[in-house]
Structure formats: C-alpha cells, structure tokens
C-alpha cells in the first residue's frame, strides 16, 4: 500500500526526481530520448502526453512565477528576458493537466515569428485575462495554469540539464484582481 500510494502520489503531481528546475521553469533532460528516466516514462504513459523528441525540440514548463507563487488566471504576468538558443520557439498557456484553455480572443500561443520585439530584439509577453497592448497572451478563469515554452531545433538537446538561470525568461506577477 505504501509503495503504490507513493507511486500514485508522484504520478498525480507529475513529480519526477530527474526534472531540473531553472528559475520558474522545469525541464526534463533526456525525456525526448530513449534514455528517458523511469519516472518521466511512467508520467507520460499515465497522462498520454507525447514526449517531444530531443532532435525536434525541448519543452519547459512553469507553474510558478519568479517569486515561487503559483500562476493563477486571476493575476497578470509579464514574461521577459533571454531565451536559450533555438531556431523557433512558442509560448502557450495550458491547464495544470496540460489541456488548452479557451479564450474569447482565440489566441493560444505566441511564436518566435509572431512576437513583437523592441528595437534591440528583446521582447515582453503579457499574460492577462483582459486585453493588453503589445504581446498579449490571454488567460481565462481564476484557476491555476501552466506556461509551456517550446524551443524547436534547439542546440540545447540533451544538455538542457545545464541550462543557466540567465538563459531562461523571468515570469513577474503584475497585479491581481
């Protein structure tokens, strides 16, 4: 009972001892390769998630802001900073279980091709439930949510475990209602 209970508890919370935390982001090194760790393997089998092949890209997830507070649809957030090297990237919003969140604007993700940049090439994305100028990523409902950052054709590959804090974007809470 104890053993099965621990398994169920870890899978329910998607707790993987091999996951690496970089600032607010979590990355699973080797999850896109045959050397995937047994915990990630069990989590994927149970949730039905299709792992991103490391030759295709790397997935980073965040369910907390930089201060360690859970991300909720009742607050707005500013996502800004550096990105690890990649030919393309996308940033999208999902429920904690990874399902899409409906929004009236019909905007579900930002891609490297769409994002508006400042003259120096940097950018900021505003995740909020009400319309924002610039790069607005709509949130909806008061529930907790997860940000998914995918780096396609990234030179990170299997070295994502060595990601540095300065190489990933920050998530700052702006205001809550």
């Amino acid at each position: 009972m104890l053993g099965l209970g621990t398994t169920a508890w870890l899978l329910e919370r998607k707790i993987d001892i091999a996951a690496v935390r970089v600032g607010p982001w979590v990355v699973w090194p080797r999850s896109g390769t045959p050397e995937i760790d047994p915990y990630a393997r069990a989590i994927y089998a149970q949730s039905g998630q299709i792992a991103l092949a490391s030759a295709e890209g790397v997935l980073l997830l965040a369910d907390m802001d930089d201060a360690g507070t859970p991300l909720t649809g009742g607050c707005s957030y500013r996502i800004t900073g550096e990105l690890p090297p990649a030919r393309f990237w996308t940033l999208s919003v999902a429920t904690s279980a990874g399902l899409p969140i409906d929004n009236a604007a019909g905007r579900y993700a930002f891609t490297s091709a769409e994002v508006l940049r400042r003259s120096n090439g940097s950018f900021a994305i505003n995740a909020a439930s009400s319309v924002r100028p610039g790069n607005w990523l709509p949130l909806s409902g008061p529930d907790r949510f997860t940000l998914a950052l995918r780096l396609y054709d990234s030179s990170l590959g299997n070295t994502s475990a060595q990601l540095e804090r300065s190489a990933v974007p920050s998530i700052w809470k702006e205001d809550c209602h």
Partner: protein
C-alpha cells in the same frame, strides 16, 4: 523493557519501508506497459497503419492529449512492421519548420529529424525492423549511394508524428503544409 519493544518496532518499520520501496519501484517500471490510456491509445490505436491521420488543433479540451503545442499542426501515421516497412516523406519549404519524430508503442520518441536534415527539399525515411533492414541492405547495390534514411524501431508497432510550425501565415498555413506529408507500407521490400 523499553528497548525490547523499540528494537522490534524499528525492525518492522524498516521492513515495511523496504517492501514499500520495492513495490514503488516495480510499479513505476511496469506502469508504462499497462497504462490503459497512453499516447499510442489516444492518437494512433484507432487509425489504420500506413495512413496519415491529421490531429485536431490543440485548442479544444476534447483533444485529450496533454501539452500539445497549439501553434503546431500535427499528423501521425501508425506503423505495424509486421505488415512491412514504412516509408514516410515530408516536403520541406522555407516557409515552415518541419519535424518528424518516431515513437514506440509506448509513445516514447526513439528517433527524430527536422528540416535541416532534408535532401532535395524533402525528408524521406524508411522505418524497418532489424530483420527487414538486413534484408534491404543485402539487396543494396555496391556502388550506388543510399539516399533514404533508414531507421530501425525498437517496437513492432508505434507511430510517426509530423509537426509543422509556420514562419508566416499562422496555423492555417501549417495545416495546409501538412497535406504534403505521406506514409505508406512497403510490402515489396
């Protein structure tokens, strides 16, 4: 007296934890083999091997596969190597990022390649079992170079996934580009 009770109690606690740890490890290891609703079951089990099946855009909750990218248009092709090797082709253009990944029966990727590996504007891969590869290589001519990429699968069944992320034109352009992918069972190899 007290020590007489504490020592057996501690031994029991250690034994319970030990058994618990073993059960935990075994359950983690066997779960991928028995999970009733894994990625293969959700996206591929209902499709016919050797046909391209377009996945709905990941914007609706009815789409039950978690953490799919809503900006990417995807299709899958189920394979069953008992029916023969699978040849897949994806046309590559400058207007989109194209990636092909190969997944086992348990949904885990074992090989992947992107448009950077394309040859003559397309990605072409033949997926085979180890014995089929031996047979094909025996038939290769000595001097002619082999143009296609050959990959062996660790499982007899599984699925190939095509992903397209457009540079311009948004999701509709990706969906349009996805129509150029193909997969078919090579029964004559």
């Amino acid at each position: 007296m007290t020590r007489d009770r504490i020592v057996p109690a501690l031994l029991w606690a250690v034994a319970i934890l030990f058994v618990g740890a073993i059960v935990h490890i075994v359950s983690i290891l066997i779960l991928p083999g028995i999970a009733p609703n894994d990625a293969f079951t959700r996206v591929a089990a209902a499709s016919v091997p050797g046909t391209v099946q377009f996945l709905p855009r990941a914007v609706s909750r009815q789409n039950s596969v978690p953490f799919r990218d809503p900006a990417v248009a995807s299709a899958i092709c189920r394979y069953d190597l008992q029916q023969g090797p699978l040849r897949i082709v994806a046309v590559v253009t400058d207007s989109a990022f194209v990636a092909v990944s190969f997944h086992t029966r348990f949904g885990l990727p074992f090989y992947g390649l992107s448009d950077r590996a394309s040859d003559d504007g397309k990605l072409e891969v033949v997926l085979l079992s180890a014995s089929q590869l031996d047979k094909v290589e025996a038939g290769d001519s000595e001097d002619g170079p082999v143009r296609e990429v050959r990959v062996t699968s660790p499982t007899t069944e599984g699925f190939v996934q095509f992903d397209i992320l457009p540079r311009v034109g948004g999701y509709p352009a990706a969906e349009q580009a996805l129509k150029s992918v193909s997969c078919k069972i090579e029964r004559n190899l």
